[in-house]
Amino acid sequence: MDGCRSGVPTYEGDLHVVAAAHHIVKALGATKNLSDDLRKILIDLDSHLSMITSNIDSKGGRGLVDVEERLDQAERKIMRWETDPMMIWDSGPKEASDYLEAVDETGKLVDGLRGLSVHENRKQKEILHRAMNILQTAMSRLEEELIHILVRHGQQFEPKNMYSRSIRKDIVYDESFVSVEDEPTKETSSQNCSNNESGECIVDLVHADVIPDIKSIAKVMFTSNYGPEFCEAFISVQKEALEQYFSFLGTENLSIEDVLKMEWTCLSSKMNKWTWSMKIIVRVYLASEKQLCDQVLGGLGSVSSYCFLEISKATILCLLNFGEAVAMGPHRPEKLLRLLDMYETLADLLRDIDTLFSEEAGSFIQLQFHELLERLGESAIAAFKAFRVAISSNRSLYPFAGGGVHPLNKYVMNYIRMFPEYCSTLNLLLKNQHPGVADQVTKPDYGPDTSLLTSCPMAYHLRSITSCLESNLHKKSQLYKDEALQHIFLMNNIHYLVQKVKGSELRLFFGDEWIRKHNAMFQQHAMNYERATWSSVVSFLKDNNPGSSSMSKSTFKERCKGFSIAFEEVYKTQTRWSIPDPQLREDLRISTSLKVVLAYRTFLGRNLAYTDDKCVKHTVEHVENSLLDLFGGSSRSLRNSCRW
């Protein structure tokens, strides 16, 4: 524009040149597909040329009079609204466009007058000041209108429809084993929306109908160099809307100290909520906000991304801080799954974040996200390690009554049953983590189709965890004085382990070989139990002289008595023991039955002559039936209840 400040032309020729130039500028200005920058230049030029023309025609000040008239007209249109209680854009499109036209006209006049050397002409200067004063009034008004439009047409959206609230599992793993029931988990998927491309979740934060209005206000304010005021107003309304939405989601600001002190159940639900809000805020709200900024401020260079950053920064930092606080907290084993949820959510959102904050100014936010992701990963690994440590260091002072499935076993197996869902993340995080020293992991050696899963890092770690668990269970079994009960305990627990693996996706990671080996293991314990309990009992029934046909009566009597006492003793003790799994209990009874009942029947059969004697305390049927009472978990006695 400075180039035009060459003064006012003085003769006819110039007048024609100016007129011609003006004509060309007007024609150019009418073309579509102009970049906004270029259009602005043309507009400037246009008003400038018209000013020169009016100045030229005016020899005696006629041009200024013309300018004044135009200004008067614009002023009337602008000032009229200053006393009107209605908002312009609420009054109708005609009113709005009239107003914009008047503002535009004023802006042109200001530009034109400025282009002239105003110092020399007092009148000109006066008009310029007046025009700028009117412009200021109009700009102030536009700012107000803008805020009004944004607030009035701002739209809330329901988060419920966006992402299902059910995050993969809502079982809360608190520290107490008791609450962990052996119930089938409902595998509810939360992947409803997360697989969508980010484009599919965009909503209109401001009603689509008013976008052109906002754009036109932006245009005229930026043209008149009131861009900063526009941004100020736009940012403050949108920032507040985001904050309101944020608290509408039920997320509150928490200090790091608060988070660190929070008890687990509360923290767990906050972590869940964070995962959920993070997705909605980034993938829906911010994506939509970004679109709004681009729609409104698209052609204005970095203004759009500047506004977007200012609107979103505080909320984003708030979310990030909670993540930092969680990652810093004590690495308790029960935190692992929630941490993995957070990690996966963040990893999943990274691409969106990188797109949303791609400009240089946003790199700060990008960086914070990447750092938090790393931190959450470290924290998850630490929790994973803590889980292992907790398993191997879990100590009991007293043997677990009845020899059933130990709570530790239940807890661990129910917990790791969730791991396959986090398979890829865990593999990524555990890639460089060695399972540890006390690791007797069987090298998998199976078919090509299973080998991938059984040899992934997570599989190694899973097997390492169960081997930790097994060795701890072995230690716990040593607390029983009764060798038979040690075997019952181990049988129960290893059986439970195998069932848990077989009944879930875990089997793919443990592999058939592992299952076979562990099946054999609990069967071995069953056999050991039988040997430990029944060998001595059955030994009463053994014939010491296989050659002779029968024993003496007194020997028979003695043997019979010995058997009865031993059997009653076993009955009394082992009805108290427990085998929670009905199938396993059944199997063991059958195999015991086979051994004991058969031996008893043979024994009695061989000594039929004495069997009506009082010394035969129990019939075969009675022994057989009594065996059914074993492992029921409550102590019984044969002497009181079943007397013949």
């Binding site: 209680p85 209605m86 908002m87 310029l128 000041h129 025009a131 700028m132 004063n133 009117i134 412009l135 200021q136 009034t137 700009m139 102030s140 107000e144 805020i147 009004h148 944004l150 607030v151 009035r152 520290e175 107490s176 084993f177 160099n225 900063p228 005021e229 941004c231 100020e232 107003a233 403050s236 920032k239 507040e240 904050e243 944020f246 509150e252 600001n253 928490l254 200090s255 790091i256 100290e257 920064k313 505080a314 909320t315 930092l317 930092e324 810093m328 004590p330 308790r332 084993p333 700060f364 914070q368 750092e371 931190r375 440590v389 398993i391 260091s393 879990n394 100590r395 530790l408 807890y411």
Partner: protein, 392 residues
């Protein structure tokens, strides 16, 4: 009172000790040297901060660049401190008295410092907002000659600026401030240039009812210099680092608008004058404390040098725009003065533009560093043999 007697310097005491423990192994000797070096560096760094000339605007006390230097020094001291603590010959020391008590206390303070970092980061967002408003003022007043329109434009931005600074200073409860609704009160305000009322956003809060002053007060709890034999061991760098951390956080809160700062000047932390390294910190504490007391009387938003300038210039320019509207056209000396003030404001804005973002990033760096050290110390404590908490 002879200097060598009562006010024996920290360094002096160390060398006395050294003579006493001469029989000890070389490692201990090395450790003593490290401690000596550490306190020497601390002393030098804070002396440099204290000697910052007030008249050179760029490096003035509590200016952006001064704060950046302060944070730089914090990071340096922190790194050295960690070195002494962790690279030491005997890692199990940290689990023995008195460190078994001092380290957890230090970690506690670290966590509190993190929340202060966040509060300050939020505060810097407010300062950036002031900067944007001030830039509008500058661009309105830069135009020549100044007419009624620009003067009104400047006044409007100034009013927003001053009220924003005021709100941030009022420590008002954020809950009340957010109940503002844009939609009403727009019309019916008779002023020609309506100024949207400033609100304090929720996201600028650390947490509900959180108070920066109380937080710092809590950081000073139990902060006592090591006594007797402890003074020669690792207890003394832990104490030094504690004081540095509390001081840095305190200075940040004094400089930058933060949630709840009432009672900040009442905070004392006992740093005994006879400790060499502490003298400059005490000096700075006194100096800034004085400023803060003045502030409490005057009601400024924060001691950040650039903000104080902004406020001063803002008041002057506000008077100018007022008189402009009253008298109409102003020319001559008054206009020139106003132009000079606007130029000064522009310069302040420029310095903010250059410095605020890096300062914010540096605070984040401090944040991450504190987190990292905390994690490392916790891990070290873990390894030294504390068995992990049982699963049950």
């Amino acid at each position: 009172m002879p200097a060598t007697d009562y006010q024996a310097s920290f360094l002096g005491r160390i060398s006395i000790r050294r003579n006493q423990v001469i029989a000890m192994d070389g490692n201990h000797e090395q450790e003593l040297q490290d401690l000596e070096l550490f306190s020497k560096h601390v002393s030098e760094r804070f002396a440099e901060l204290l000697s910052s000339p007030d008249d050179v605007p760029f490096d003035a006390l509590l200016s952006i660049s001064w704060l950046r230097k302060l944070l730089d020094f914090f990071l340096c001291c922190e790194a050295e401190f960690k070195g002494i603590l962790m690279m030491g010959n005997d890692p199990s020391q940290i689990s023995k008295p008195p460190l078994d008590r001092l380290i957890p206390e230090f970690l506690d303070r670290s966590v509190k410092a993190l929340d202060v970092c966040n509060a300050v980061t939020n505060g810097l967002e407010s300062v950036r907002h002031y900067q944007k408003l001030a830039e509008i003022v500058v661009s309105a007043l830069e135009q020549k000659p100044i007419g009624d329109g620009q003067s009104r434009r400047a006044k409007k931005a100034l009013t927003s600026l001053m009220s924003a600074m005021n709100v941030d200073d009022k420590e008002c409860s954020a809950a009340k401030a957010t109940e503002r609704s844009w939609s009403f009160s727009r019309r019916g305000v008779s002023s020609k240039d309506r100024v949207p009322e400033h609100f304090r956003s929720v996201s600028n809060q650390v947490a509900k009812n959180w108070s920066a002053a109380k937080q710092i007060q809590a950081m000073t709890n139990n902060l006592v210099p090591p006594r007797g034999a402890e003074g020669s061991g690792l207890a003394s760098p832990v104490y030094t680092m504690n004081v540095i951390m509390v001081f840095v956080m305190w200075a940040l809160v004094a400089a930058i608008p933060c949630q709840e700062r009432n009672g900040l000047s009442a905070i004392h932390f006992p740093a005994p004058k006879q400790l060499n390294w502490a003298q400059s910190i005490i000096g700075l504490h006194e100096k800034i404390g004085e400023e803060w007391k003045k502030k409490e009387k005057k009601g400024t938003a924060g001691l950040l040098d650039e903000m104080q300038k902004m406020e001063k210039l803002g008041n002057i320019l506000m008077d100018f725009t007022d008189s402009f509207q009253f008298h109409g056209d102003i020319t001559g000396q008054k206009a020139e003065e106003a132009a000079a003030h606007a130029a000064e404001l522009a310069e302040t804005c420029r310095r903010m533009e250059e410095g605020l973002l890096p300062l914010q990033m540096q605070i984040r760096e401090v944040f991450h560093r504190i987190v990292k050290t905390r994690t490392e110390l916790l891990n070290a404590l873990d390894q030294v043999g504390k068995s992990p908490p049982p699963l049950l």
